[in-house]
Symmetry: C2
Subunit: 411 residues, 2 copies
């Protein structure tokens, strides 16, 4: 059975000059969050404390990157009372300055990630001019000094609600707004989880700014007798000025629909791990010191031998597996030798081919499915199979076969 492909986020129609010239904006899966991050309030403990304490606050529990869910399409949220045994009743009481002073590397603090305010739900919470229902994600993975408490929260919530955690992996079944909330929560909890130590000096770090920053404290109270002064730690470069090591990491990735010089064919490739006849657009990580356009040309040439001229950036997609930003582009191959396929540079692809737009159009009807799913009804063995609408690859192919290169844009 083929799993249903979830909806894409929906943007309001608009008739701006940009939309008239370039067409309606493509909103990709994992974007379209209903929450306002009010990122500038993450350092304000009066705000965080009030949001945490408000009766309308919603908490998404995440255990080993698996979120609590109603079903495969919907996340479930719990209330503050369900988590205080793990978080304490006022986890944002202390200023960050005091948290850093009192840092003890033997003590595990659960990451309580502030996600944002749902401004459509005006349920009574307000702070200065900001109104809406507060959302948090809490990492309840049992580990370190909070292992027992975290297990207690998990078991109590399961028993009370009858709900369970949706297996993490590559979760692609959530409804659009829920998928965007999960993407934010997963990316940031995973980043905190992957970086317990400082890359600059090798010592343990502390999560602050409601889960969006990690600092390297200058002292440590671990194994220090009660009342004694904390141990000084060696000097660390991240303590001098602003360091990117303190902030979450997002890896820019290019993914590109490459069109033949005459605008009639699409370059698609397949890796060995794909099911038979399954092809997608080429993709790869952007490298330091290169533009998106250069990365598109380099990766296309390295993987397929094709030489690309003009590159236009089409749309983008957050991809929380684990921390990618998919930057979707459309590029056009140089004519003649530029279109010759050569797989011998980087042996990453098993095959790459030029597909006529008609073949891709046919695949949009009979060949679309998730990577692990069976082909849909109507699929004839041997026909082209391609990724679902939730993948930006599909959106790029769709744009190209629907006249992106030539037609006047419509909204």
């Amino acid at each position: 059975m083929t799993a249903p492909i979830p909806d894409l986020p929906v943007l309001a129609e608009d008739d701006s000059m940009l939309s008239r010239k370039f067409g309606r904006e493509v909103a990709n899966y994992f974007s379209g969050s209903p929450l306002n991050r009010v990122s500038f309030l993450r350092t304000d403990h009066a705000f965080l404390g009030a949001a945490f304490a408000h009766p309308t606050a919603s908490f998404l529990l995440v255990d080993n990157l698996s979120p609590l869910g109603k079903d495969a399409a919907n996340l479930a949220y719990v209330g503050r009372d369900d988590i205080v045994s793990l978080t304490g009743s006022a986890p944002f009481d202390k200023s960050e300055e005091d948290q850093i002073k009192e840092f003890n590397s033997n003590i595990t603090h659960p990451v309580i990630l502030f996600l944002g305010l749902d401004e459509k739900k005006k349920t009574g919470f307000e702070f200065r001019e900001y109104k809406g229902s507060p959302y948090f994600a809490v990492d309840v993975t049992p580990k370190g000094s909070i292992e027992a408490k975290a297990k207690g929260v998990i078991e109590a919530v399961k028993a009370k609600t009858g709900l369970s955690f949706i297996p993490g992996g590559r979760l692609m079944t959530l409804n659009a707004p829920e998928a965007a909330i999960y993407a934010q929560a997963r990316a940031l909890l995973d980043w905190n989880h992957r970086n317990p130590f400082c890359g600059g000096c090798g010592h343990r770090t502390l999560s602050i700014n409601a889960g969006t920053k990690r600092v390297c404290p200058p002292t440590d109270l671990a194994d220090v007798p009660e009342g004694a002064a904390p141990k000084q730690r060696p000097d660390c470069p991240t303590r001098h000025g602003i360091s990117n090591l303190s902030f979450p990491r997002t890896d820019p990735t290019v993914i590109m629909a490459i069109v033949s010089a005459d605008g009639t064919k699409l370059l698609l490739g397949r890796s060995k791990r794909y099911p038979p006849h399954w092809y997608s657009t080429l993709a790869g990580f952007l490298e330091p010191g290169e533009s998106i356009e250069e990365a598109v040309r380099r990766e296309t040439w390295e993987e397929s031998g094709v030489t690309v001229g003009r590159v236009v950036i089409h749309s983008s997609q957050p991809w929380p597996y684990p921390a990618n930003l998919m930057i979707g582009a459309i590029g056009q191959a140089l004519p003649g030798d530029g279109e010759a396929i050569h797989l011998g540079n980087d042996p990453e692809l098993e095959d790459a081919r030029w597909y006529g737009f008609d073949e891709v159009r046919e695949a949009m009807v009979t060949g679309v499915s998730g990577l692990g799913e069976a082909a849909p009804k109507g699929y004839k063995e041997g026909g082209l199979r391609i990724p679902p609408q939730t993948a930006i690859a599909n959106q790029l192919m769709n744009a190209v076969i629907n006249g992106y290169l030539t037609l006047p844009a419509k909204i």
Copy 2:
């Protein structure tokens, strides 16, 4: 005196369908490298060894992020003989497997970064089907166990050539192709320098893949008697499967020219550190779990209160200070209240204003200079000042005032 603004990279004209519809690609400063990175050969020690040993190989010496230069506009390269006292004569002799086995955290290895092949210079080097002159960057910063040797190389090269290192800081005077080479070298040497320890386990890491990967070895020979078995280190999550912690980090940053709903005005802002009357486009870091388009809307609202509808991604710029990818976008404000400026959300900007296209056009003639430079001749006190052509901010403004929203594209 105003420093000359360096050239921008030049792309070949093309008449592809994409160029006809969207206009010629904008190539930004720090992009446009003449080198083919052949990234898939970085793990091939036979290739790296042959490239290093070839008499046409060029080495860019970098001391504390400052490159050796002929003058402010041109990098200088030395030959292999000038650096072997630091690197040894065959630094790629050992396989990476052996380097990892022999890891000794007391020993500093200079990072020898493979930059790529200049295929226009067919000077005799070839490996399989790849031909061109090999380029490397070598970190000669005196530190750790190589301090004395690194100092020796620096002094010998200065004495022999009479050249000096161009002060690092925000080097913006190099000619376009040199700027792109420096951007690649700086970003990667800086990443190696900032990450001597593993974020996953806190132990020292080792640079491999010719400067483009850092691994966390399972053993360490530091302080182990000659001939004895190496010390085992604790298990590290980065050793299980592929971890992004092993690869260079690039931070996606959005920078956006926001146009008024009626398409006649541009939203510009200024920070306190700018000189008087100096304004630029708004910008900010993209966050995990958001698309580029969402980041543009969020950052614009947070910094200026303006609400943005349609966003189109225009072009991109590598920005090696320290590791950013500037993603340039053009967005259109929603009419009415959407255009109201409110600086009270995130207090990052000192001011933000709507400027008529004519004022920006005038500034393109009389108000363009580098951030630290004096205003150009013809500037009248009180007039708008804006960043130079080497900044993507200038390119975005330029596109908008020249009809990007409405005119049919030309190449």
